[in-house]
Amino acid sequence: MTLPTSRRRAGELSRRSFGVLAAASVLAACTRGPQTASPNAPLRVLAINHVWTQAISTYLPELEERIGRRVSLRMLTADQLTSSFNVKLNASATDIDVMTVRPLQDQLMFARNGWIADLTDRVEGDAGYRWTDFQEAPRERSVVGGAAVSVPVVTERPALYYRRDLLEDFGGAPGTLDEMLDIALELERRSEGFFGYVGRGQRNGAVSQWSSFLYSFGGDFTHDGRSGIGTPEAVAAYEYYGRLLHEAGPPGVTNMSLEQAMPIFAQGKAAMYVDADAIYSNFLDETISTVADTVGFAPFPAGPAGSVPHNIPSWSLAINEFSLLRDDAWEFLRWASSPEMVARLQAEGIPGARQSVWDDAATLASFPAELAETMRINAANGIGHDRPDVMQVGRARDIVGRPLVSGILGEDVAAVAADADAEFNDFLVRDNRQREF
């Protein structure tokens, strides 16, 4: 009920006017104006739960003193991290400043979505930072559409972990994939719970480690933008890996990723294991390993096309596009990936991406000598990707991994590979369309 206008005193609002004003106030309150960070706001880092993060966290007070701001570091597992980024950045959240990203898994999609900031001017315009000091492959992986969007902090290659005591009779670590298969079949005692070889067998999770087998057989995920997983080389790599795990591997291997495969080798139940060189410390820690005294390290064995492992930046640092503390975030990146910090961390056993640090023998002193040599050789022979270089990496890995599982289950690999090849070609057409951003 509204009072007649004539009876309303001057300056009194009608109900409608009041309603409009209230609605406008609510809208105005909800509308995001130009935002600035509070001087007391911490620099928020959302990072992977990894030895690199644990190591860098001990040095944070140095940076806090330099930027005059507290650093809040939160660690999550890889899957949780990706899910968190997806949820928060879809909402243009400002409560993340620095992110650890997987350059080969998430970076392209994040760049397409406009979630990570362009760092080109910062990395190239800062002479003291020495951007060209980063190894070529990791540096190239940091660039999307001509813009540097991340800086690599951890690199990774495969290593062949083997039991020195068991392989002594065979002349030490196998130099070729054929030798590795023969030794694995010779040593396996599956009925007694001992396996010649253990490795990742999950459809999606195994793809990155299988990539070195693929390259060493002369194949690749794609050739000239078309699927490469139906080529004779790829099929041979599928069949080889499938046979290795089917005949010499543990039961239930198709459900195994790093977390399941690693303990089997660490518990002394397998003769050989190929996985990331970054996990070597798990086998030297006597509280969780029974092979601390007998584990050996060797370069990736040669296939028909030679020894061609991957050599990739596994984790990089990026800045949230919506961050209100971009300058401080860049200070974090600059500090955490500086030549001095990379040298310091590499000396603690965390392989970085700076060539000058790799050239300094002192930084490799913390690694077992055999492993340091393995890393050096694999880095020299390595290829800069370990999964398909596409936008939708998760879907691509699911397609590429299907023949792997068939091989492990002892099924007809060639037929499944042909089917997966057709599916992968269809996928690549769609994915290429999405890349035009």
Partner: protein, 318 residues
């Protein structure tokens, strides 16, 4: 109801009318407005937390949203629904697994829960201890339970195969096997949720009158006959209610499957249910449009089941 013509009271927001005029707001009007004013926060919360996400998801399901939900999407109409409903590689097998998992697990839980409830119906020495032990699986989170069972059932290092070896059964792959994964997950679900069925059914059993059973006993009915012809019919409403509660919960199972089988429900998608599939589409593939369509279909599926079961419950109650 009294309609007072007195001046607005009881917190009525109306303003006073000049003396002798009809009041601007009656008590009834004031009361009605107050009701809505008091309900407004709750309604606003429900609207915000339930209706908005639902409408947002339905809207998203009609678009080609990919990568980021707020990145200029185009409307596709019902294309995502058509894609999902014609997908025989992932969608329909996931529907089949969801139904199999739910029916298998809930059926076993109902039978075992009823058996345990019948055993615990009459007081016995140590009943409190037994009840407490039965409740333990309910207290743990599904992810913790998943990890616990992964360790127990690990084909190489787990204790399960060790124990099976004592009775001459060869080692099993359990969660590592394409064929055994879903049945194993169903058994883990049964282990965790049977106590809940027991509690629900025990609550129903304790409210049943004793006279019909006594009369049947006097007439010479044995224990099985009394159970089938007297107790079960009287317990029907409780059983249907328990089935609705547990069934809807089982349909939505996600954490246990994801913790034990990872993305995609395993290497051959052997444990991929609709929930796991929708999660993968969202967070592994960033296909928000298709994922939303799958979720809308899943929601309709659950609503249909609940409606059918509710009608049965009402019919049985009447």
């Amino acid at each position: 109801m009294t309609t007072t013509t007195a001046r607005a009271a009881v917190g009525a927001p109306g303003r006073r009318a000049p003396s002798g005029e009809k009041p601007l707001v009656t008590f009834e009007q004031a009361n009605r407005r107050l009701k809505w004013a008091l309900l407004a926060p709750a309604l606003g919360f429900v609207g915000l937390m339930i209706v908005f996400p639902l409408v947002f998801t339905i809207n998203l399901s009609l678009t080609d949203a990919f990568g980021a939900v707020n990145a200029g999407n185009s409307y596709l109409g019902l294309q995502n629904f058509a894609d999902a409903l014609t997908d025989t590689r992932r969608f329909w097998p996931a529907v089949g697994r969801t139904v199999t998992f739910t029916l298998g697990a809930v059926a076993l839980e109902t039978v075992l829960g009823l058996a345990l409830a019948m055993l615990m119906r009459k007081a016995f020495r140590g009943m409190e201890i037994v009840r407490t032990i039965l409740m333990v699986p309910l207290l743990a989170t599904p992810v913790a339970i998943g990890i616990l069972w992964m360790l127990i059932l690990d084909p190489t290092n787990g204790i399960a195969n060790h124990l099976l070896g004592f009775v001459g059964i060869p080692p099993q792959e359990f969660l590592g096997s394409v064929a055994q994964s879903l049945p194993t997950l169903m058994l883990i679900d049964v282990w965790q949720w049977t106590p809940m069925m027991t509690v629900l059914l025990l609550a129903g059993l304790t409210t049943l009158p004793e006279e019909p059973e006594e009369a049947a006993r006097v007439d010479g009915a044995n224990a099985w006959q009394r159970f089938v012809h007297v107790i079960l019919p009287m317990l029907r409403t409780t059983i249907l209610t328990a089935l609705v509660l547990r069934g809807v919960d089982a349909l939505k199972t996600f954490d246990l499957i994801y913790a034990t089988k990872g993305p995609g429900g395993g290497s051959d998608f052997e444990a991929e249910t609709l929930n796991v599939y929708a999660y993968g589409l969202t967070f592994d593939y960033q296909e928000y449009g298709l994922a939303s369509a799958v979720l809308v279909l899943f929601t309709l599926f659950i609503v249909a089941i609940v409606v059918v079961l509710r009608r049965r419950t009402e019919r049985s109650a009447s």
